[in-house]
């Protein structure tokens, strides 16, 4: 066992892990942050997407020890400070962008990375960005709508702030 330390959703955390402990195992089993899900074993479904140092990665395809000192953000860290849903989360509820909810955390985290890079994505941009996120319930229609709507809201907020 080796000690690993990182920041998760703004909080410094540490724990003892094996070399083979994946980030997703550390989050779920070590920290009890079970919002990050595991839906496959070939690094394709994206249910486990989190942010490491601001970029979306698959938490099932990175070792906990590889995240030593990193800033990690998970679905549990996406709500507003007052506990209300963040812009992307709210858009998913508003536009019915989720059904069973299992792929949803990964979808939200992936969408957040997209919108941090591209404030004005086209429908095609969104669909291509979601290459690494599989949903079996929604047919993606309302996920795409949710992300487009969140982008619009975020642009509006930025305009308002200026």
């Amino acid at each position: 066992m080796t000690k690993v330390s990182m920041t998760v959703n703004g909080k410094a955390v540490s724990g003892d892990v094996e070399g083979r402990t994946l980030l997703v195992q550390f989050l779920r089993e070590g920290l009890g942050l079970t919002g990050t899900h595991v839906g496959c074993d070939t690094s394709q479904c994206g249910a486990c997407v989190v942010h490491v140092n601001g970029e979306s990665v698959k938490a099932c395809t990175i070792f906990a020890l590889g995240c030593e000192g990193a800033e990690v953000r998970t679905i549990e860290g996406m709500a507003n400070a007052d506990g209300s849903l963040g812009v992307i989360q709210a858009a998913f509820q508003e536009h019915h962008g989720l059904q069973c909810g299992f792929c949803t955390p990964g979808m939200v985290m992936s969408a957040a990375d997209l919108l941090s890079r591209n404030q004005n994505p086209t429908e095609r941009d969104v669909r291509e960005w979601l290459e690494g996120n599989i949903c079996r319930c929604t047919g993606y229609h309302n996920i795409v709508k949710s992300i487009m709507a969140a982008a619009a809201t975020l642009r509006g907020e930025q305009v308002a702030a200026e």
């Binding site: 080796t2 094996e18 070399g19 083979r20 994946l22 074993d41 070939t42 690094s43 394709q44 994206g46 997407v49 970029e55 979306s56 990665v57 698959k58 099932c60 395809t61 990175i62 070792f63 020890l65 590889g66 030593e68 992936s110 990375d113 997209l114 960005w129 290459e131 690494g132 996120n133």
Partner: protein
């Protein structure tokens, strides 16, 4: 996964030292290696994580070539203004490997060291005639580097440090994706240099990435899609699986080559 020790060297020298253990394995982006470990198809005693080595990361211009550190992630290559300006086909290729999360982790060196027969980067390295630099101080020409499916010229414990890409007059990469894995079912990289054209095909052959001399000859004489009329790959030695017969892959190589030539302009 089997248990292993985890080493995270901060320098290339430390990494070379750690790789002296014959059962050590280097971890680059991990996007192929980690799924492989999960399936217990590999059992290294030590995993040497290369992600903390600054000296093998980054993109710079060197002697008219684009030099890319082995630890540079696909997303960085895709987003690099230098790569986009000098070899837009390479930026485009990097921007379409796997998915965004794979591109945020996967590295050039990891892809080349693994040499998956369906990977994209080998097509660019071979198609551009790039040079692979290693921790053993070797500079290996692309034509010598790829030695068959998952086989490379790298020695035991030898790590890729950087790759120098010559800048072509024009180039393009066309990929036909396997619908499940989204790897290349067949991908063709076409590059036109002064006086010569190189064509590299990935995804198709049981021997891994390869150059297509007949196509190169035809395109060297006349760089247009029409020049490839009548130029066809044989199905012998092509991969046959659930997603494509050898004949289909050979056919796709022709289609992708024509489209790449058209895209290169």
């Amino acid at each position: 996964m089997y248990a292993f020790d985890y080493a995270r060297p901060a320098s290339l020298a430390e990494a070379i030292e750690a790789m002296k253990d014959e059962d050590a394995k280097a971890l680059a982006g991990g996007q192929t290696l980690i799924p492989t470990l999960k399936q217990r198809l590999a059992s290294p005693t030590t995993l040497v994580d290369l992600n903390g080595i600054a000296e093998i990361k980054g993109i710079c211009l060197k002697d008219g070539m684009v030099a890319i550190g082995a630890g540079t992630r696909h997303a960085e290559v895709a987003d690099s203004a230098d790569v986009q300006r000098l070899i837009p086909a390479l930026a485009h290729l990097a921007a379409h490997i796997g998915d965004p999360q794979v591109r945020n982790r996967g590295t050039l060196g990891g892809s080349l060291a693994n040499n998956d027969p369906s990977a994209c980067y080998p097509a660019a390295v071979l198609g551009l005639g790039a040079t692979v630099h290693t921790s053993a101080g070797r500079a290996i020409a692309a034509d010598d580097y790829f030695q068959g499916m998952f086989e490379t010229a790298l020695g035991e414990g030898e790590l890729i440090t950087s790759v120098d890409f010559p800048v072509p007059e024009k180039a393009a990469y066309m990929k036909f994706v396997q619908p499940a894995s989204r790897f290349a079912l067949t991908g063709v990289f076409v590059a036109k240099f002064l006086g010569a054209v190189r064509v590299a095909v990935t995804g198709a052959s049981e021997s891994g990435v390869f150059r297509w001399p007949e196509a190169e000859k035809a395109l060297s004489a006349n760089f247009s899609a029409g020049a490839l009329d009548g130029v066809a790959l044989g199905a012998d030695g092509m991969i046959g699986d659930l997603h494509g017969t050898p004949e289909y892959r050979a056919h796709l190589a022709g289609v992708m080559a024509r489209r790449a030539v058209t895209a290169a302009g």
